[in-house]
């Protein structure tokens, strides 16, 4: 192992630490839940209205999504890996749960109005 290897490891750890910190500081709670299928908009929900929704694809595959207490999670899915079902529930702006086998993506959007937006109005 060279000295440069240690600098590299140290540099990456600092970068990751700063990135996590920035994400934590600037994260805002979302207001809407956007579902896309193969990158195309499918449906939008209000994150504060509890509901369960079955995303049914033309090829017979499906994902069941639950919005409850301001959180979104994937209850069940027909995909082989079930990674989307294992994903933690989400609530913050830009967080997403992706089911790649089915091409389904659920993301939280429309964070609270910032002070700047309020002034602009």
């Amino acid at each position: 192992m060279k000295k440069n290897d240690l600098f590299l490891i140290g540099g990456i750890i600092v970068f990751v630490f700063v990135a996590f910190l920035l994400l934590l500081i600037f994260r805002t709670e979302g207001s809407k839940v956007l579902i896309t299928i193969d990158g195309k908009e499918h449906k939008t929900f209000n994150i504060n209205e509890d509901t369960t929704y079955n995303i049914l694809l033309d090829n017979g595959e499906w994902n069941i999504l639950e919005i409850k207490d301001g959180y979104v999670k994937m209850l069940d899915a027909s995909c082989p890996d079930k990674l989307c079902v294992k994903h933690n529930k989400i609530r913050y702006n830009t967080e997403s749960i992706t089911c790649l086998p089915n091409g389904v993506d659920i993301r939280v959007i429309g964070g609270e109005e910032s002070d700047l937006d309020a002034i602009a109005k």
Partner: protein
């Protein structure tokens, strides 16, 4: 290509195949298929240092094809190829630059692997927010990259007798 080279190709592909199988048994809580601990990368980096860059590239692509059709859904091949290609390219460049030892090169290769797959995933579901997974994957890249680099150097020392 002499018979010894063909034999070492066979040996390396078999090793990569076994590592990929072991990895397929370990679940990783990340939505991109093919993002793994990088055990298979161990074989690729040994090949880079032990046989040559071109040979390592062929090995990496053959491994992805074999594994894609055996343990995974072939539709995930594009993710594996993007990761494998970017990882090989990064390791080849940094090996030439001689800035780092095998440890540094394997860390960078591991991170490049994940970046390649995230790029494909972003295009696939049209969601740039997937980039936020990167810091987490960089940490796993450092841990597994360090282990693989150290292990690779040890194995290479012993293999060199056979390869020469």
């Amino acid at each position: 290509m002499n018979s010894k080279k063909i034999a070492s190709y066979g040996l390396f592909i078999a090793l990569a195949f076994i590592f990929s199988y072991i990895e397929s048994l370990i679940p990783i809580p990340f939505p991109v298929p093919g993002i793994k601990l990088g055990l298979a990368n161990l074989v690729v980096i040994i090949a880079i240092y032990g046989i040559g860059l071109k040979e390592a590239f062929v090995l990496s692509m053959v491994r992805i094809l074999l594994v894609g059709f055996t343990f995974r859904d072939p539709s995930t091949l594009i993710f594996s190829f993007a990761g494998g290609l970017l990882s090989w390219l990064t390791m080849a460049i940094f090996k030439k630059l001689k800035l780092f030892s095998m440890v540094g090169v394997s860390i960078l290769g591991g991170i490049a692997h994940n970046i390649g797959q995230i790029i494909v995933a972003i295009m696939y579901v049209n969601n740039t927010s997937l980039i936020y997974y990167l810091p987490l994957l960089m940490i796993s890249g450092v841990v597994s990259g360090t282990l693989i680099g150290i292990l690779g150097a040890l194995i290479l020392k012993r293999l060199n007798k056979f390869l020469d």
